[in-house]
């Protein structure tokens, strides 16, 4: 018989025990009667012989060894009964906890998906390591270094190479740009991935540059674009204007080694020349240039080799490589020029800077939701204590009947954990909903960068939530249980409902909880306020250009195999076509979109002046079509715009930004004086240009922050400075979206296989720049308000409780002539005192915390006095309201009744 068997046959056992003892008594009685006792006497003797039957039973139950479980079930049943008896109380507590736990579950799900979950479909992910350079930002190594590391190391069973590139995919119906993986042939083998159909790459597909036009498609791409066609393997598709044979389909779930960026297909690294998309590094062949560090590498550790050993071994090889051929600092992608190699485990988001961003935001979000949970816990603890006050008599009776204190605490804790579990269950639903909401805040990366996160709950989420519920239940239940289980039995039994000493003690503890709540929600709200101020600042900021009503579409003609002549022809024709569309005001083009993903900068020097290299001015190098300034909305301060006459045959001209004009020629007073001056632009073969115009400064540099000072910019005519990668910009009469399909149609009319990339309103591209502030404000705002609501309920609860306890005193005061006003003042003063203490602590907390946010804020300091003062006043206002309601109730007390009630 196992213990659970015994447990679940408890009733049967009880019956048998009863029967067994009765049999004993009956037998004994009849034996005694045979000996000559009277029936009554015999029965009495038999009972005496056995001892009290209830005590014997109790000892037998103990002997069975399942007592703790039985008691636990007893507690559980009792707990459920108690909770069902007070549905209002239960509902409030469960709802409060659901908010707190649900918020935590949601954020855990997010962190899990972003940072913790191992790559899907990968074999033994624990053995995988990623190579990182220095503090780990983005790509790591060059192809030549990779081959050396792969051959010479003795710590990895194999090492694979990967990078990503936008690939233009044409299927003759509608072409599009997708994100593709460019990988060494052993990539799938190192990751241990078995294809769903066909094969992955063969070792010989790692040999001839340009010679292996084969492709493996991702499962989801195969599903969505080819309708899961099982006969697809062996057929060809057109990628970057070249035929590729589909050799295999990857297993479901695997979308590349860097989720949440989704890779749709993979080609061998030998096809790199077809996959090149960067406009600038044409001279640096990625397959032979040792300083072209555009690749990441993933290796599998040999059995029994630790990450640290492997890192040391690889670093030795790396150092030898660096010594023989040092990387020039300007070609190092690492900002600190740290050349050491590091190994990390691939989990969730792997690439350095994104991972760091995710880690920072996760910490912030985690701290926020944990604070909300703490506030919720404080609230529930408060409610439990109020209820414990009402249950004093029950507890006293049980103590008097001989229950141990530990037994009582266990009973009370069972109840609170039960509450927490109910809250967690409701919280799971809430978390699901919160996550749906959070996905609306995903960074608006333009295609082909699709940001996908699988936020579905897995076993880890459930385990986390369960654990959190149990811990929460113990945390908020323990103090009330300790308090409740030691009432002074006598006064409680005598129904002295306002025995003085315990009330004072409880109230102090409850006060402390209110103070904590006020402090925590104040800190949260101040953080929210700072983000809101940042957002307001972002809206007021003068960008120097007007993104509204502008539609943009980018092209990479290189991917489509266009040479320069064909590219010029295309851009000329498409501008003409778009200009004629109804609803279009002006059309132009540029190689760089303001606040977009790319920024190129180049040295600019005044002609006829020697400038030492370290004093050279760097300026954004923007190639624009004519009418660019009109279209983008940047005013031209002096001089003229580029025209169709500024061609490759005419003399080179340039327009400089106001800032560039002043830094090149510090002596000028008016930007107009720069007109006619000459400058030289470019790194290796500087071109001499004449300045024909000066434009207003614009914040058009890279996307990440809006508050950067506008960078010096030099604009050159597109016709004199061709770029295969360029964007069309269209200023429209109204909603730029309405022209999307027309633009697509016009492009298809010129080349039906040429896909426009990130065809979207410019305002959307720009919105990426304020993404972190918007998300921060939204997330913190929601949770901050949640915290405040909970804190307000807490204050209200404590004040109500206090008022109900002081009914007699208030009645007395009013009988003695106190005015309504005096009574309200009395109550509010008490609540306000608590609030002020809480606010003071919260202020100090906020000062400590907001410094950590500084990197996400702009236009406002981390200790912005307006925000701080505003939030403090707001919190105090809410607190006064929460005190006022019970206070007003107190004044309704009928003095006579109050005095008589004792």
């Amino acid at each position: 018989m196992t213990w659970w068997h015994r447990l679940f046959h408890r009733r049967q056992h009880e019956e048998q025990l009863e029967k067994e003892l009765r049999h004993h008594l009956d037998q004994h009685t009849s034996d005694l009667m045979v000996q000559g006792y009277s029936p009554e006497e015999a029965r009495r003797q038999a009972r005496l012989g056995l001892g009290g039957p209830e005590q014997v039973k109790e000892m037998c139950r103990d002997a069975r060894g399942t007592r703790w479980l039985e008691e636990f079930l007893q507690d559980l049943r009792f707990g459920v009964r108690m909770l069902l008896k007070n549905p209002g109380f239960t509902l409030v507590v469960v709802a409060t906890l659901a908010l707190g736990i649900g918020a935590n579950t949601a954020i855990f799900g997010l962190v899990d998906a972003l940072l913790l979950r191992p790559l899907p479909a990968v074999k033994a992910p624990a053995e995988l390591v990623l190579l990182m350079r220095g503090d780990g930002g983005g790509p790591t190594i060059s192809y030549p270094d990779f081959t050396v590391l792969r051959e010479r190391n003795e710590v990895l069973s194999d090492l694979a190479l990967y990078t990503q590139a936008p690939i233009s995919f044409g299927n003759n119906v509608r072409s599009e740009v997708v994100l593709g993986g460019v990988v060494s042939a052993n990539y799938f083998d190192v990751l241990g991935i078995t294809p769903t159909l066909g094969r992955t790459f063969l070792p010989e597909e790692d040999r001839t540059p340009g010679g292996h036009s084969v492709v493996v498609l991702s499962h989801s791409f195969w599903q969505s674009r080819f309708n899961s066609d099982r006969t697809l393997v062996g057929k060809t598709i057109v990628l970057n204007n070249r035929q590729f044979t589909i050799v295999g389909i990857a297993p479901p779930g695997f979308d590349g080694e860097t989720p949440p960026m989704k890779v749709s297909m993979w080609v061998p690294v030998m096809m790199m020349s077809t996959m090149r998309w960067e406009p600038q590094s044409a001279t640096h062949d990625p397959l032979s240039d040792r300083h072209n560090e555009n690749f990441g590498a993933v290796g599998r550790l040999k059995q029994g080799v630790s990450v640290i050993e492997a890192q040391a071994a690889l670093e030795t090889i790396n150092r030898q490589l660096e010594q023989t051929d040092p990387t020039p600092p300007e070609r190092s992608l690492n900002p600190n020029n740290d050349r050491s190699l590091r190994l990390i485990s691939p989990q969730g988001i792997m690439i350095g800077s994104i991972r760091e961003m995710a880690v920072t935001s996760s910490r912030l979000a985690g701290a926020t939701v944990l604070t909300v949970l703490l506030i919720a816990c404080a609230n529930v603890a408060n409610l439990l204590m109020a209820r414990a006050a009402r249950r004093r008599k029950e507890v006293a009776v049980r103590l008097a009947m001989g229950a141990t204190r530990w037994r009582l605490i266990r009973q009370l804790l069972t109840e609170s954990v039960l509450l927490a579990l109910a809250g967690a269950t409701a919280g799971l639903f809430l978390a699901y909903w919160i996550n749906q909401l959070l996905m609306a805040f995903k960074p608006p990366f333009p295609p082909p960068f699709t940001f996908t996160l699988d936020l579905s709950f897995d076993i880890r989420t459930f385990a986390f939530t369960f654990l959190l519920a149990v811990v929460t239940g113990v945390i908020f239940g323990l103090v009330p249980a300790l308090q409740a289980s030691r009432p002074d039995v006598l006064p409680a039994l005598k129904d002295e409902s306002n025995a003085e000493s315990p009330r004072v003690r409880w109230l102090n503890l409850r006060n402390a909880l209110v103070v904590t709540q006020v402090a925590l929600s104040l800190a949260l709200l101040i953080s929210t306020g700072l983000f809101l101020r940042t957002l307001r600042y972002a809206r007021q900021i003068d960008l120097g250009f007007k993104p509204d009503q502008v539609l943009a579409a980018s092209f990479n003609l290189r991917l489509q195999g266009y040479d320069e002549a064909k590219g010029r022809e295309f851009y000329g024709q498409i501008l003409e076509r778009l200009e004629r569309l109804p609803g279009v005001q002006t059309v132009s083009m540029s190689n760089l979109l303001p606040l977009g993903f790319m920024w190129l900068s180049t040295p600019v020097v005044p002609e006829n002046r020697e400038v030492p290299p370290n004093e050279r001015v760097f300026a954004g190098d923007v190639s624009v079509g004519s009418k660019y300034f009109e279209t983008i909305g940047t005013p031209l301060l002096r001089g003229r715009d580029f025209t169709m006459q500024d061609t490759i045959k005419s003399s080179p001209v340039a327009i400089v930004s106001e800032k560039l004009a002043h830094s090149l020629w510090p002596e000028i007073n008016d930007p107009g004086e720069a007109l006619g001056k000459r400058l030289r632009v470019g790194r290796s073969n500087p071109i001499s240009c004449e300045v024909i115009g000066v434009a207003k400064d614009a914040r058009n540099n890279i996307f990440n922050r809006l508050d950067r000072e506008p960078e010096s910019t030099i604009y050159r005519p597109f016709m004199q400075n061709y770029s295969a990668l360029a964007s069309l910009i269209v200023r429209t009469d109204g909603d730029p979206r309405s022209l999307t399909s027309a633009v697509r149609r016009e492009v298809a009319a010129l080349d039906e296989n040429l896909p426009p990339q990130n065809l979207q309103p410019l305002a959307e591209t720009v919105s990426l720049a304020s993404w972190s502030a918007r998300t921060g404000a939204a997330v913190l705002g929601v949770f901050g308000l949640l915290g405040l609501v909970l804190a307000a309920i807490g204050i209200y609860g404590v004040m109500s409780y206090s008022v109900s306890r002081r009914t007699r005193e208030i009645g007395l005061r009013m009988a003695l002539g106190a005015e309504t006003r005096d009574v309200i003042k009395l109550i509010v003063k008490q609540g306000l005192g608590l609030t002020l203490i809480g606010a003071l602590i919260g202020l100090m907390l906020a000062i400590a915390v907001t410094r950590l946010l500084a990197s996400l804020l702009y236009g406002v300091t981390a200790t912005d006095p307006t925000t701080f003062a505003g939030v403090v006043l707001f919190v105090i206002g809410v607190a006064v309201l929460a005190c006022y309601l019970p206070a007003r109730r107190a004044t309704k007390v009928d003095p006579m009744k109050a005095l008589r009630c004792e």
């Binding site: 067994e20 049999h23 004993h24 037998q27 004994h28 034996d31 000892m59 002997a63 069975r64």
Partner: protein
């Protein structure tokens, strides 16, 4: 009333095992048998008999079935399991050694005095 001695600690389990090993038997009969066999010297506290039985059952040394007695009533009959048998033998042997040793010591001190 005859003077009765209390049971030394831990011996109740051993005695119960021994009695039950003689054949299936119910609780009341065990109490009776112990008292008879010890000729009334050993007073079995009936209050601790049943917890002891349940403890031994719990440890897997005894099993029980419900059977009809000769008087036509249902009673819980205990049997010794194989594990209980082994336990009985070990403990009995241990007890033998202990009592021999104790009596040896007692005799020796008597001899010393005489």
């Amino acid at each position: 009333m005859k003077p009765k001695s209390d049971l030394p600690q831990g011996t109740l389990d051993l005695l119960i095992l021994k009695v039950v090993a003689l054949g299936p038997i119910h609780g009341y009969a065990i109490a009776q048998r112990l008292e008879q066999v010890s000729r009334g010297v050993v007073q079995v506290p009936q209050g601790s008999l049943y917890p002891a039985l349940h403890r031994l059952e719990n440890r897997g040394l005894l099993v029980a079935d419900w059977k009809v007695t000769e008087t036509g009533r249902e009673a819980k009959f205990y049997r010794v399991t194989r594990k209980g048998q082994t336990q009985l033998e070990t403990e009995a042997a241990g007890w033998q050694r202990l009592t021999q040793a104790v009596s040896l010591i007692l005799k020796m001190s008597e001899g010393g005095a005489g």
